[in-house]
Amino acid sequence: MVRTQTELEAARHTLVALLEDHPGVLNRVVSLLRRRGYNIESLTVGHSEMKGISRLTMVVAGDDSIIEQVVKQLYKLVEVVKVSDLSDDRVVVRELALLKVNATASTRAELMQIADIYRGKIVDLATDSVMIEITGHEEKIDSLIELVRRFGIKEIVRTGRVAMLRGTAGVTKAEE
């Protein structure tokens, strides 16, 4: 089945899970997602503002019934404290990428200009390359990558999506 871009975006959910910060918790989550065949596009995890609680953000593709199962199955893990679906408009979504791009003395200026337009930063320089740091929505990063491809990309690293609700409300707030 061929899906339009809008359908794809609609089928893509940003889930945030709060996890007990115990050894092996990430393994439990990832093992669950794999064995039940869920389609994970990105997954990122780090500390939250609460002691002993990690915050995991993942992008899952699937229709509503699949997403409902993902959420319920995550809740069955004893060390998963809370799961929220942050898929509405009131969310700030970001990804960070580092790009190492071929740059000679003659192309360096143009690359710096492109990075600037994308509100990227040059964070490292070498004789034949530059490293660009960029944050933003995935599409913005995709677009920058396309633009600098003709210079020759040596390396890319992307963090995967993180997300946070706008306004006072938060996914961790309800927990306390």
């Binding site: 092996g24 393994n27 093992s31 409902e68 199962q69 004893v78 060390e79 404290v81």
Partner: protein, 572 residues
């Protein structure tokens, strides 16, 4: 919820709190605090400190002959008693041998606590002798598991393990104890409560959804109750019966729901699913409301999901929210302890008469029962189970292995009591029957316990005859011997051009085998010997084995081919 209506023995406190104990002693203290009386286990190097400590505690240790049997026996014990079953094994192969038994318990939501030895913490991750990552291996087949790296955490891990195993949707929990943690010392204090931020099982159902469900029931002309293992687990048979009688609602059962509603009750219309009776499957296709209670609506129960109860609305009651809407679309979901939810539903008032619907069902059943049983020279397996039912008045605990005999045992015995049919329904584990029967008998010594096995499954754990004898466990064994892996042979007959390959079993002389283990045994080769054989078995003290030499190509009917709708059943 396992906490309701169970008789838990008084906690035992032999050692004054705050004494300094080693990890092994702390684990034993925890077992006493949790009311454990018996462990099924097999020792080995990494668990020796635990066994050293165990010797000083008033806990019965049943030494099995293979760790798989320890897990099955703990499972059988749990199913028979409603209490947590405990099994113990050493690290490495001891732990991996538990895996099939743990998975069996997981698929059927049995409260089992497995304790394994592990290599000392400093040797973990170095491929040490008998080292295996058992918490990693059992991750997908336990409700939760623990690798305890500090002796100070042993008591808490044990407390949480039992809490998790028994509450909410029960399930197996594994506690892995490295040898140095078993030997290290710490002040002992057993926690009185657990703090698990991410674990809060729902108990009472949502009141609004219960009211909506009651309204649907009142409006239904052709409602059905479909009960599953959850009703047995919650001991909610009484509440289910009240609801069924109040609304004159026929009751059907999944394989593992059997027993929670009396099989002889006029509203009981039998087993549904792949090998369900035809009138039950027919009722499902015709009904306008299904009240599914404590069932995960597995593929063996529903057949093709798109055709399941095609004309019906569905009310689904289960303690595990993830089961609701997983396989079958639901109109009213109710998450909660099925016992409390059924009680609340009955209070809403769902009285109804439904004479036409009940008359239809009665007629379908009568039509089905008119078809005569097939007879030939061999012993009829259906007749064997029927005779056992007649002689034991439906009061025995029937523990089966997996295969054709399992379905004959489900179809031909009239289960009157909760948890009186014990069987591996989800994982379908051959080798389950004998060790699970041992566990059931030890848990329920006053009950007549029968292991009903085929010749394939019995041979998978036949070494447990030695355990049965050593423990003096009065387990009766009915062996239905057809010289085949009968269920697979049946599939080959029906769906693979009758090419019998890899299914013929040249068995031993089972009477001699039993005799060598010290188990009195008889062989039955004619239908007219069945009754006398059961009389002999039931009046003989201690374990016995009766081998019934049955028709080699007898089939289980009806059968719904895998992936087909329940209406596509094949009848013999």
């Amino acid at each position: 919820m396992m906490s309701k209506g169970r008789s838990q023995p008084e906690p035992h406190h032999p050692v004054k709190e705050r004494r300094v104990l080693n990890g092994a002693q702390i684990a034993c203290e925890a077992l006493l605090h949790e009311g454990v009386e018996v462990l099924f286990g097999y020792p080995g190097g990494a668990i020796t400190p635990f066994y050293h400590a165990l010797h000083d505690y008033p806990l019965r240790h049943v030494l099995v002959r293979h760790e798989q049997a320890a897990a099955h026996a703990a499972d059988g014990y749990a199913r028979a008693t409603g209490r947590a079953g405990v099994c113990v094994a050493t690290s490495g192969p001891g732990a991996t041998n538990l895996v099939t038994g743990i998975a069996t318990a997981y698929l059927d939501s049995s409260p089992v606590v497995a304790i394994t030895g592990q290599v000392p913490t400093a040797m973990i991750g170095k491929d040490s002798f008998q080292e295996i990552d058992i918490t990693g291996i059992t991750l997908p087949i336990t409700k939760h598991n623990f690798l305890v790296l500090d002796v100070k955490d042993v008591a808490r891990a044990m407390k949480e393990a039992f809490h998790l195993a028994r509450t909410g949707r029960p399930g197996p929990v594994l506690v892995d104890l490295p040898k140095d943690v078993q030997m290290a010392k710490a002040p002992f204090h057993y926690p009185t409560s657990v703090e698990l931020r991410g674990y809060r099982p729902s108990v009472a159902g949502n009141a609004r959804q219960i009211r909506q469900a009651a309204a649907l029931i009142r409006a239904a002309e052709r409602p059905l109750i479909l009960m599953g293992r959850g009703v047995n687990l919650a001991l909610a048979g009484g509440e289910l019966r009240t609801l069924a009688e109040q609304g004159n609602i026929p009751v059907l059962s999944t394989l593992l729901g059997l027993g929670s509603f009396p099989g002889s009750h006029p509203l009981f219309y039998g087993l549904i699913g792949m090998h369900g009776v035809n009138y039950a499957n027919r009722a499902l296709s015709t009904c306008d409301l299904v009240i599914a209670v404590g069932t995960r609506l597995s593929d063996r129960t529903t057949g093709k999901t798109s055709a399941f109860a095609g004309q019906a609305k569905v009310v689904h009651i289960d303690v595990d929210p993830a089961e609701i809407g997983k396989n079958i679309g639901v109109d009213i979901p109710i998450v909660g302890d099925v016992r409390l939810v059924l009680e609340a539903l009955a209070r809403e008032g769902i009285e109804g008469q439904r004479p036409e619907w009940l008359a239809d069902l009665r007629r379908w059943r009568e039509e089905a029962l008119e078809s005569p049983r097939r007879r030939n020279g061999h012993v009829s397996p259906q007749e064997v189970i029927h005779e056992l039912d007649v002689q034991s008045h439906g009061g025995a605990t029937i523990v089966t292995d997996v295969g054709q005999h399992q379905l004959w045992a489900a179809q031909n015995y009239v289960y009157e009591r909760a948890n009186s049919f014990i069987s591996s329904g989800g994982l379908g584990t051959m080798g389950f029957g004998l060790p699970a029967a041992l566990g059931a008998k030890i848990g329920r010594p006053e009950s007549e316990v029968w292991a009903v096995c085929g010749d394939g499954g019995l041979q998978m754990n036949i070494q447990e005859l030695a355990t049965v004898v050593q423990e003096g466990a009065d387990v009766k064994i009915a062996l239905l011997n057809n010289g085949y892996l009968g269920m697979v042979r049946q599939l080959q007959e029906l769906f693979h051009e009758r090419r019998y390959y890899g299914t013929a079993l040249l068995g031993p002389d089972f009477v001699k085998v039993a005799d060598a283990y010290g188990v009195p045994a008889r062989r039955v080769e004619h239908n007219d010997e069945i009754a006398a054989a059961f009389q002999w078995a039931r009046t003989t003290d201690g374990p016995v084995l009766v081998e019934f030499v049955i028709e080699p190509e007898e089939n289980v009917y009806p059968i719904v081919p895998a992936g087909k709708s329940l209406e596509d059943m094949i009848e013999g």
